[in-house]
């Protein structure tokens, strides 16, 4: 699958997918989208990179780092990053739930407020976005972990 056509397409398409994914995530509270959809789309973008190049490309090609070879897949640096991402996501989700308790509300209670920003005008800030961000991280981290570990087989 690592043909020139595939790689060229991936180079063009991946940034577009990522922008769409982020916008879907951000608009999710009021328009179609949300953490899960944005997350799965992000996974698709990274998956495309993986299929077109390889697991190390993110490190060697994008971040321009040295890559250690011959490590076990579970301890691979990229996989570790994915694993940390879903752990972080779970922590965010639980923390956003506990925040409700701290403020005297039930577990996972959400709230929202409107703030006035220059250029953007009236913008809604919902605490649900924090929760949704956690979901986003879990989906991206979890699915990419599965993707890369199974893919290495």
């Amino acid at each position: 699958m690592t043909t020139v056509i595939m790689r060229t397409t991936a180079r063009i398409v991946v940034p577009i997918i990522l922008v769409v994914a982020v916008s879907l995530f951000l608009q999710g509270h009021s328009l179609p989208g949300g953490g899960f959809i944005g997350g799965v789309l992000t996974v698709a973008a990274f998956g495309l990179i993986y299929v077109a190049y390889n697991l190390d490309y993110l490190e060697s090609g994008v971040l321009d780092r040295e890559v250690e070879y011959n490590t076990v897949i579970g301890q691979h640096r990229t996989v570790t990053a994915y694993r940390r991402l879903f752990m972080f996501g779970l922590a965010v989700v639980v923390a956003s739930g506990v925040a409700g308790i701290v403020l005297g509300e039930p577990f996972l209670a959400q709230s929202y407020t409107y703030v006035h920003l220059p250029l953007f005008g009236e913008v809604e800030f919902a605490s649900a976005v924090v929760f949704d961000f956690g979901i986003f991280c879990i989906v991206v981290g979890g699915l990419l972990t599965v993707f890369s570990v199974v893919g290495a087989e």
């Binding site: 179609p32 996972l108 879990i138 972990t145």
Partner: protein, 781 residues
């Protein structure tokens, strides 16, 4: 009035100690037992402050289900809790000497303290759910303590047996509690409020009878109590439990835990009393009393003898509570107290003998009087009390039990005369084995017995304290009766109660019963060996009927059955797993619909838009094409068509979020396929017709289930939106602050569900990681 804080502290302190025990063990070493004794003393003192108080206190726990932490103080609960914590003090003191140098003492004391907390909690509980929780906790602690020697096969076997029997009984109790809840609800009471149920016992009993639930409740309670209190035929776990260290046997398996069943019977006695109650409970108790006493006579090990004797005495207690009259309540409460004192003392004596003489076999022991004079004196008091010889404490309570049996026989006539006859028959064996135990200290010293050392004070003091207790109750029974026993008996009785403890002054039926028991018992003692041989012969002839044989056979059958079922259900092929999961889901769903609904709603075919029909038709064509595809590539691509058609269907049905999700997931699937395409074989193999037809049947079943579910779940297109839908549309913006209802439901209204789903993703990722990396490390081999 009872104080909640004092009661809660008396329960919580042991649990706190249990949590800290491993840490304390590191700091204090072997002496952590004394810390346990301090905790038990504190609990005991807290409970003592409540002596004379009466009433129920509660704090809400699960208000929506009417469950509260209700604690009650009355004679019975205090008696039981004081016994548990008071004997607990002695046991901890004894254990710190006895368990000296043994491994894993942190775990041991932790479990022992947790057990004590559970038993105090159980005694004070006035809420059925709380009672059940503590009931099961005692079973779990008992399991841990019996299995203390984890490397020992017999230990593990016995621990598992005790767990299966007592927890199995606990399940019966759970069902009985639910039935009682139904009765309480019908009588207009809080569902699980035991004190209210007992206060309105006539209304609750009437409600249960009206629904035909009275006898099932009674039977379930008796099974639960019988399993816990080692009644026939579920007594066999108790002798097995004797593999535990002796302090555990003395505490759990004689003084407290095994009495939990008896305690429950005493508590529920006023509610469930009636002819059925006497027939079931008194008979069960007397049979256990007889079987236990006979097995005790043929025991070869001193702890085994005490274990069977415990079962026999538990039978006596159960039988006493089984009799309707006030004598029954008096005998039950009084003997509960006496038995805890003398039996705990005897177990501790058995521990001393085993510790100092190095053997527990009865035939290797004898003439210990000279080596262990103080122990001999303790045994003298306790064993004669156990035998029921006047003027020792056991005699008073047993005499009242005889009165109860006599009373029941006079009232019932005919077959009811079997009650006193059986009681006397069993008591003769009781006298026999009590004298046999005492004889360890008299008679000739066997030549093989090595030098016996004097026990240290730490081992001697606890049983001595108990023996002094026996002596005080023997000399001045009124002291204990006035303080607590009258109150305790009154709780378990419906009529007025007044315990008369003393030597008989005139001749009556029960006095004759006692006289026969003691005379025959003492006269038969010289022929102990011959009686033993006779009983052994009976036992050998009935091996097939032994509960242990049945238990082992059932266990072996369960093992074989699960091996067979296991091979069928999970054989390592994903195909098999999917088959079982899906077919089970289909069967359950369809059965649910079949039992709860009538008639199938007709699908609204005429109103379906043409575009929708077209999209679905393409989807169906794609689905058929998938099954006939010749290679993976065509199969997956046609599957993609099907997925995108479903997405379009969602768009047409104005489910934008669903459509987005469907599209994104479909894309991801294609991507995954690209990843693995090079690894797959180019063509499918030969068709295996039986497998194909099985898969086809499953597919049809899944399709049918989905179809039927949609028909039932879809709202009536012509009708108004459902209540749930209206709630979400009305509240999404004001409550959640978002116009996308699906997202607001996911992140706000139903955030808990989303949290659970995200945890599923995390678990899936973790299991993939662990499974694959563990294989790399070679840990699976």
């Amino acid at each position: 009035m009872a104080q909640f804080s004092a009661l809660a502290a008396a329960i919580a302190l042991p649990f706190l100690g249990a949590a800290l025990a491993p840490l304390l063990y590191r700091l204090l070493g072997d002496r952590v037992g004394l810390a346990g004794a301090a905790v038990a003393t504190a609990s005991f003192a807290l409970l003592l402050t409540q002596l004379g108080a009466d009433g129920t206190v509660s704090v809400p726990w699960i208000p929506s289900m009417g469950v509260a932490v209700r604690l009650t103080v009355d004679g019975l609960s205090l008696l039981f809790a004081l016994l548990a914590s008071g004997i607990g003090v002695l046991i901890f003191a004894y254990a710190s000497e006895y368990m000296h140098g043994k491994p894993d003492l942190g775990r041991f004391y932790s479990a022992l303290l947790a057990f004590m907390g559970s038993i105090v909690g159980l005694a004070l509980a006035a809420d059925l759910v709380v009672l059940f929780v503590f009931w099961e906790l005692t079973s779990v602690c008992s399991f841990v303590l019996i299995g203390y020697y984890t490397a020992d096969e017999e230990s593990r076997y016995s621990a598992r047996m005790a767990m299966l029997i007592t927890v199995g009984g606990g399940l019966c109790l759970l069902v009985a509690i639910l039935l009682l809840g139904v009765g309480a609800d019908a009588a207009g009471l809080a569902r699980f409020d035991l004190s209210a149920i007992l206060a309105n016992r006539e209304a609750v009993a009437e409600a249960l009878r009206a629904r035909g639930l009275f006898v099932p409740t009674l039977v379930l309670v008796v099974v639960a109590a019988g399993a816990k209190s080692a009644q026939v035929p579920l007594y066999f776990w108790l002798p097995g439990a004797m593999v535990a260290p002796t302090p555990v046997s003395a505490f759990l398996h004689s003084a407290t835990m095994v009495k939990v069943g008896v305690y429950a019977l005493g508590r529920l006695r006023p509610l469930l009393q009636g002819p059925e109650w006497t027939a079931v409970v008194a008979t069960l108790g007397l049979v256990t009393m007889t079987v236990g006493a006979m097995l005790a006579v043929i025991s070869t090990d001193i702890k085994e003898l005490l274990a069977y004797s415990t079962a026999s005495h538990l039978g006596l207690l159960v039988a006493a509570f089984g009799f309707d009259s006030h004598y029954g309540a008096e005998a039950g409460a009084f003997h509960l107290f006496n038995h805890a004192l003398f039996k705990a003392a005897l177990f501790l004596v058995a521990g001393i003998i085993a510790h100092e003489a190095g053997t527990r076999m009865i035939e290797d022991l004898g003439g210990l009087r000279a080596d262990l004079p103080i122990t001999a004196a303790i045994t003298f008091l306790a064993a004669l009390s156990m035998a029921g010889i006047p003027p020792f404490s056991g005699f008073y309570s047993k005499e009242i039990m005889f009165e109860a049996a006599w009373d029941a026989a006079q009232a019932g006539g005919g077959l009811a005369w079997l009650y006193p006859a059986t009681a006397v028959f069993a008591s003769i064996f009781t006298v026999l084995y009590s004298l046999r135990f005492l004889w360890l200290f008299f008679g000739d010293r066997p030549s093989g017995l090595p030098a016996v050392h004097r026990p240290p004070v730490g081992l001697l003091a606890p049983p001595a304290v108990l023996a002094v207790g026996v002596l005080i109750v023997s000399l001045f029974p009124g002291l204990a009766v006035d303080r607590i026993l009258d109150d305790a008996a009154a709780v378990t009785a419906v009529s007025s109660v007044e315990i008369h403890a003393g030597l008989p002054t005139y001749l009556s039926g029960p006095v004759v019963m006692s006289a026969i028991t003691i005379t025959v018992g003492v006269a038969a003692f010289p022929f102990y060996d011959r009686i033993q041989t006779g009983l052994n012969r009976i036992r050998a002839a009935t091996t097939v009927l032994h509960p242990t044989t049945v238990y082992d056979a059932l266990l072996a059958a369960a093992d074989r059955g699960s091996a067979v079922a296991g091979r069928g259900v999970h054989n390592g092929l994903i195909r098999t797993y999917v088959w079982w999961v899906l077919s089970a889901a289909c069967v359950l769903t369809l059965a649910g619909f079949a039992t709860t609904t009538t008639g199938l709603p007709a699908p609204a075919i005429a109103e379906t838009p043409a575009a929708l029909v077209l999209v679905l038709a393409v989807a169906v064509v794609a689905a058929v094409a998938v099954t006939t595809a010749e290679s993976h590539v065509t199969g997956v691509l046609t599957l993609g068509i099907l997925g995108f058609m479903v997405a379009i269907f969602y768009i047409l049905a104005s489910g934008a979020d669903l459509a987005l999700t469907q599209l994104v997931v479909e894309t991801l699937l294609l991507l995954i396929f690209l990843l693995v395409i090079e690894e797959l074989p180019a063509f499918y193999g030969e068709i295996d017709w039986p497998r194909v037809s099985r898969d086809a049947a499953l597919s049809v079943a899944v399709g049918t289930t989905a179809f039927v579910s949609v028909l039932y779940a879809a709202r009536d297109a012509a009708g108004p939106p459902t209540e749930t839908a209206t709630y979400f549309t009305d509240n999404a913006i004001p409550e959640g602050g978002g116009a996308n209802i699906v997202n607001v439901i996911l992140t706000d209204f139903r955030a808990f569900d989303t949290l659970g789903e995200s945890i599923v993703i995390v678990l899936a990722a973790l299991s993939v990681l662990v499974l694959l990396t563990m294989r790399d490390r070679g840990e699976t081999r």
